[in-house]
């Protein structure tokens, strides 16, 4: 099958799943093209040594820019050349008038790849481009991963109307997002697939075996960890409040926050205001290896998000046998099994979160058991090979319609 994946930027370390998916599909013999707006040399560096790096580099096409206008004018001839590879298809665009010319300019790279399936990896980027199916004579799949349903186009009730009407298949990361899609107008009988993300469980594997250790004393403080961009969605202010309550309960602790972002100052201020400067370390962003080491270190993984598609960081924590205390935002209850691989608490409620952290902190055996259960579940249900196979099967269903 010829598959085109459409994403704003590729590759992105925060979106490793796209890289893995493209590599996996290629490995299984499909022709994959990734069409994006940006492809950063520095980002490629981080995938150096990955077996699929070379092949993928060749499969990436950077689409012509929509803005600024003068730049668009410079790219127009190149786009025109690409479009002329399929004159009959281009003619369909011309018939749509001026708007069609513009669309053709933007779609030129997709058109030239002669796809059977075009997959918009983020719902928000699909809005306004649903003509692609008819004009290229291919099937269109749209993914919803969280923010595209929670924020994108909230002020416009018809933002996704065209997507619901014309997409051939909808992919959501989980049950919760599928429900949200329906609330925003997606018909319940739309062909869809719920395919959760997958992680590299080989890489995220403990090197040192966990031992049941008493934690929370001055000699051996409780080790808490969060990984994720410093954005309001991640709810760090609530996590810090919960940690403050844990500290006030007399627990000696260290809390490391790995990640960076536009709410750095807000997080740093909350840390100060809650009197946690001694306990909380803002570590900044880390690469995969760094995250793995932190997970090796931590006793409990804390995640207080108010909005979260599914969350790979939480999956990685479980793969590393780290019990998780997280909020119930969006896909998290499907990610963590409450009471088995960790605890799920109501979002924006630091008190409940603190209670669960304390319960886990007091019981080293429980931490161990939940950690193991997490590893087992991730290794069983969130395997990369399974994910690729499920996408393959979904594409087959969409194409066969």
């Amino acid at each position: 099958m010829r598959i085109v994946m459409v994403a704003p930027a590729f590759p992105q370390t925060s979106e490793t799943f796209l890289f893995q998916k493209a590599a996996g599909l290629m490995e299984r013999g499909h022709s994959v093209t990734v069409v994006c707006q940006r492809s950063d040399a520095a980002q490629w560096e981080r995938y150096r040594g990955h077996p699929a790096q070379e092949a993928l580099r060749g499969a990436v096409r950077v689409a012509a820019p929509a803005r600024p206008r003068w730049l668009a004018a410079m790219h127009a001839p190149k786009a025109a050349l690409r479009a002329m590879e399929r004159p009959q298809v281009a003619a369909r665009y011309f018939r749509a008038g001026l708007r069609g010319w513009r669309d053709l300019y933007l779609d030129a790279e997709i058109l030239a790849a002669k796809p059977d399936i075009v997959h918009f990896e983020f719902g928000a980027t699909a809005a306004g481009r649903m003509h692609i199916g008819e004009r290229l004579g291919c099937k269109v799949v749209v993914s919803f991963r969280g923010f595209d349903l929670n924020f994108a186009g909230l002020d416009d009730p018809h933002f996704y109307d065209e997507v619901w009407a014309k997409a051939d298949g909808i992919h959501c990361l989980g049950q919760d997002l599928w429900r949200r899609a329906q609330r925003r107008g997606c018909p319940a009988d739309k062909l869809h697939a719920l395919i959760p993300p997958a992680i590299d469980a080989e890489f995220f594997q403990r090197k040192k075996e966990r031992i049941p250790e008493t934690a929370g004393t001055r000699e051996r403080p409780l080790r808490l960890l969060s990984v994720g961009r410093l954005e309001w969605k991640k709810g760090y202010e609530f996590a810090l409040e919960a940690v403050k309550r844990v500290k006030d309960a007399g627990m000696a602790l260290e809390y490391r926050i790995v990640g960076d972002g536009s709410y750095y100052e807000a997080v740093a201020f909350a840390r100060h205001q809650l009197g946690l400067e001694q306990e909380v370390e803002l570590c900044g962003a880390m690469d995969r290896e760094g995250v793995r080491e932190q997970l090796e270190w931590a006793d409990i993984f804390v995640h207080a998000a108010v909005s979260e598609g599914f969350c790979n960081a939480v999956l990685e924590a479980q793969a590393m046998e780290t019990p998780v205390v997280c909020s119930d935002a969006d896909g998290l209850p499907e990610n963590v099994v409450d009471g088995v691989t960790g605890y799920v608490t109501p979002r924006r409620r630091p008190r409940e979160m603190a209670e669960r952290i304390l319960a886990l902190a007091a019981d080293a055996e429980l931490r161990l058991a939940m950690g193991r259960a997490g590893r087992e579940r991730v290794a069983r249900e969130f395997r990369l090979e399974d994910q690729i196979r499920r996408f393959e099967e979904f594409y087959g269903r969409v194409a066969g319609r």
């Binding site: 924020f151 309001w232 709410y263 100052e265 807000a266 740093a268």
Partner: protein, 398 residues
């Protein structure tokens, strides 16, 4: 001379400038904003020192004027330019402006605006006032990535002739950051009680209206307010919440998402940014004012609401406690304490008499302590005191 503010300036600064100009002060405003916007006011001169290439042109004009009046300062500025490149030019342009217009007092309305001008404060021969209004002393010093600015604070405080603090709480924070207590001059914000007047009489009975105003920025913590409001609704609150304030993309989606996620679409109304006139109308149509900041100097928005006779629920951030007396003008709840905030809203919602009493007390409080007139008197006291001190010192010198 007021150094490095936007022009036209924020509403509260405009009010201060108008009031002082009205008393016969001649004010020079030094601004980096280019263009011609802003009102023309009697006794107010606006000098533009834009950044980038245009800076050189504006600076050279200032240099000429400075050279006529004070050759030594002109040369000193030239040396700074040659030695310091762009940032040197920034400093030199301000030095020349001081030499050219010879103000009696320099005022840095934003604490960290004084950082590039430290040398000028030190040897410009003009006493400088530096304002501490909130974030620059409450938030920036706790950001590990802004330690360079934080390290400049003690020096700013020691060079300034006076440090203006908008509240006692902010003065305490400045002291913790290295300010000598006797440098502090606490002048709280103020409103015009003749403009912000309570609505007369009772309108038709309607659903209770809660109002929040203020820019959508993280330290205003709207998400906490919405969580508290949702909690109060769960406990039986029957009221609408109106929010007036604009902001960036992130905070806007944060607000919209929280409204939707908490299931409040049918009773929370976000109006975006509104004109001061419209804000006044909204205040007069509301019953309770809510303010949820995690960090604040003293909020002008809250003072405006109090002047309009609204009972207020505010968080105990910065100097808010100096404006609102807990249990008298409204309720002061701990920051980030969603349950306490919900409880306070419920108390006010259930008791019209309490609302009336607290609203009246709030209005009275503003009339006694937070009028523009009183504030202008305090400013004059501060500035004229400094001028006398300087004159006395020069008298001794000669």
């Amino acid at each position: 001379m007021i150094v490095d503010i936007r022009w036209p300036a924020e509403t509260f600064l405009m009010r201060k400038i108008e009031a002082l100009a009205g008393c016969g002060y001649r004010i020079t405003v030094l601004t980096a904003d280019s263009g011609r916007g802003g009102p023309r006011l009697r006794n107010v001169r606006v000098v533009r020192v834009p950044g980038g290439l245009r800076a050189a042109g504006a600076a050279l004009l200032l240099l000429l004027r400075a050279a006529i009046r004070d050759f030594r300062q002109a040369i000193r500025g030239l040396r700074e330019w040659v030695g310091g490149g762009t940032s040197g030019l920034r400093l030199a342009a301000r030095r020349w402006a001081v030499a050219a217009f010879r103000p009696d007092v320099l005022h840095f309305e934003w604490t960290l605006a004084a950082v590039p001008c430290l040398a000028l404060i030190e040897d410009g021969g003009v006493p400088a006032v530096v304002s501490c209004r909130g974030a620059h002393v409450s938030i920036a010093p706790h950001n590990p990535r802004r330690q360079q600015e934080a390290r400049a604070l003690p020096r700013i405080f020691s060079l300034a002739a006076k440090v203006h603090c908008v509240s006692e709480a902010i003065a305490d924070e400045a002291v913790a950051l290295g300010m000598a207590r006797d440098k502090a001059a606490v002048i709280r914000p103020a409103v015009d009680p003749d403009r912000f007047v309570p609505a007369m009489g009772d309108s038709q009975p309607k659903r209770l209206g809660i109002l929040m105003t203020g820019a959508l920025i993280w330290r205003k913590a709207y998400e906490f307010a919405l969580t508290a409001y949702a909690e109060a609704c769960k406990r039986g609150l029957d009221a609408e919440l109106t929010i007036a304030g604009g902001g960036g993309k992130e905070e806007t989606s944060r607000l919209l998402y929280a409204i939707q996620d908490l299931g409040l679409e049918s009773r929370v109304f976000w109006k975006g940014s509104q004109s001061p006139e419209r804000i006044l109308e909204m205040l007069r149509e509301s019953d309770v004012f809510l303010h949820s900041s995690v960090s604040e100097g003293i909020s002008n928005a809250v003072l405006e609401a109090m002047a309009c006779g609204l009972p207020v629920v505010v968080t105990d951030a910065g100097g808010m406690r100096e404006a609102v007396r807990d249990g008298i003008d409204g309720f002061v709840v701990p920051v980030r304490d969603v349950d306490a905030m919900a409880e306070a809203l419920l108390k006010l919602a259930r008791d019209p008499e309490l609302r009336r009493r607290m609203g009246a007390a709030a209005r009275q409080r503003v009339l006694e302590e937070f009028t523009l007139e009183r504030q202008t008197r305090q400013w004059r006291g501060l500035y004229e005191g400094l001028v006398q001190e300087t004159a006395a010192r020069q008298g001794h010198g000669s």
